[in-house]
Assembly symmetry: C2
Homo-oligomer: 353 residues x 2
Amino acid sequence: MQQYELAVLPGDGIGNEVMPEALRVLDAVSAKYGLRFSYRHFDWSCETYRSTGRMMPADGLDRLRDHDAILLGAVGWPGVPDHISLWGLLLPIRRAFDQYVNLRPVRLLPGVTPPVRDKQPGDIDFWVVRENTEGEYSQLGGRQGEGTPNEMVLQTAAFTRRGTDRIMRYAFELARKLDKPHVTSATKSNGIYHSMPYWDERFAAIAAEYPDVTTDEYHIDILCARFVMTPERFDVVVASNLFGDILSDLGPGVTGTIGVAPSGNINPERTYPSTFEPVHGSAPDLAGRGIANPIGQIWSAAMMLDHLGQAEAAADVVGAIERVLSDAAAPRTPDLGGQATTEDLGKAIAAAV
Amino acid sequence: MQQYELAVLPGDGIGNEVMPEALRVLDAVSAKYGLRFSYRHFDWSCETYRSTGRMMPADGLDRLRDHDAILLGAVGWPGVPDHISLWGLLLPIRRAFDQYVNLRPVRLLPGVTPPVRDKQPGDIDFWVVRENTEGEYSQLGGRQGEGTPNEMVLQTAAFTRRGTDRIMRYAFELARKLDKPHVTSATKSNGIYHSMPYWDERFAAIAAEYPDVTTDEYHIDILCARFVMTPERFDVVVASNLFGDILSDLGPGVTGTIGVAPSGNINPERTYPSTFEPVHGSAPDLAGRGIANPIGQIWSAAMMLDHLGQAEAAADVVGAIERVLSDAAAPRTPDLGGQATTEDLGKAIAAAV
Ligand SMILES: CC(C)[C@H](C(=O)O)[C@@H](O)C(=O)O
Ligand SMILES: CC(C)[C@H](C(=O)O)[C@@H](O)C(=O)O
């Protein structure tokens, strides 16, 4: 029996409510596919920070290291500045475990009404491949003249050849699995003087290694507009850390799935565990009411299954989500226009598996 | 008779086709309001670059300085890298003339079908106030280890207190003119470690000077999603150079007006001339066919009139644009679903003034 050791970090807010539903669905998968998941729970969160002054213990990363994957809920809570909560937990995990791919599907789902008109499920179905360890998310920089009128803050982004090439190759490899492989690069080489022309240069170099894959490039400003105007045109979009962050929220915004979108923070070589987490945050306004939509967490668990080599089980979970969403009689949480609880929806999806 | 000296730079591609229509409309305004515009034409463009190795002459900025305003078409052409054409013409003008406000309306227009559903003209009507002289658009940085596997590029963004405070104050002042003044700040202080927490800090400080104005803040990722999901919620959105660039293309993308959106690069103190240009680019695929939509250029001229203190004339031009767009019998360029030429549409708007 294939066995997986999973680290489970619900984090803050609704993370604690949606995580049990993902585990419920994994248990259903376990029974059906003869897989065994053992869960180690970690309660690191903004509460940990308030009581200990740290988001996780000093040896936190070591304690996560020996797992097959990490399931994360949401990190962040009012009162703890985001750059503390995130740079104290989420971002160190991404970096320490060299999870250099942030992979997010943009998919129009059945039963979800998107804000854009004239699109059907199937029309919009693509991947954002985001660089996840360097680029604009950087602690390089600082402040001069604090508190004076001459105050100035510098913020440096770092792009390495290694970091740039490997994310692009990942995107091209992913595209190769498609019928008509196509990769779009998000750039801003007309405004950002050093890093983005370099990004373009490396994109051209890596594209040359994949003559069977067609490409195009858009500046991030017009690319964002195109996500709204012609979202059906994309297959794989490769982007820097910041641009990928933007595009992978905007995409689900366009498909109306921001509350249910999943993501994988992936170390493709599997030297380290990868982290799977919903795109949504801890939703302080919703937390504690038991009505958060658990699909983002469940779908993230499906991405985890795929990463662990259980493609069939992964597809099965996504299929179960789609069937439940298509079924007018199935439970729906308030964000989907229904009255169901988090647990109702989680149970329905587990049952559909 | 009030007289204005205007520098006219059509630039590249369709810039040359839409500019005459803006001047046609200004001539109509001139007749109606007793204003006098004298135009000095500059042919600086990517062609200039190809023949001289420079986008503009060495004394280019000096030659522009003594005008009341600059009307710009579009800059950029295939074969000339964007970071050369833009950093050789557009961006130096913005900086030399301290045009620190990039102001762009996001407005759902009559007669334009937006990609989002269930919105009517009037529902979406707000301003993006973009910092236009510092921030992420920076030449600070460079490359190390060129051509080696250790190659690395650093790109530094610079945020000064002066630069940050003045754009925020502009946004609050603009909001004060509204009925229920509200300013939204675009940030990313959860991921970008130094500059964006500083941005938030200054936003809080400046907001405290305007107790009558309500505020909120969104990280740029979710803000982009909200532009699609709830665009009717915004009044004035203040953003850094890069974030403002993104939002001010995305906004018109949402309203279906990307081909017609205008912008002002404004030096509010009027120490230097301000530049008014459409958001669209030089459109190489469209250029030379006489069918580009001139509304972005004409609307930009309206923004110029407003900046020059001719608010009534400015409103008149915007009204003329809206009337022509609402009139099913009026000429429409192909992007609006018609067969009219650039000139047909320009003439119709001039006549409507
Ligand atoms: C052409 C480019 C440098 C420019 C910018 O990013 O500022 C354009 O996108 C704009 O918004 O005016
Ligand atoms: C919370 C934040 C730091 C994070 C990011 O920007 O990476 C989030 O937006 C995401 O996309 O996972």
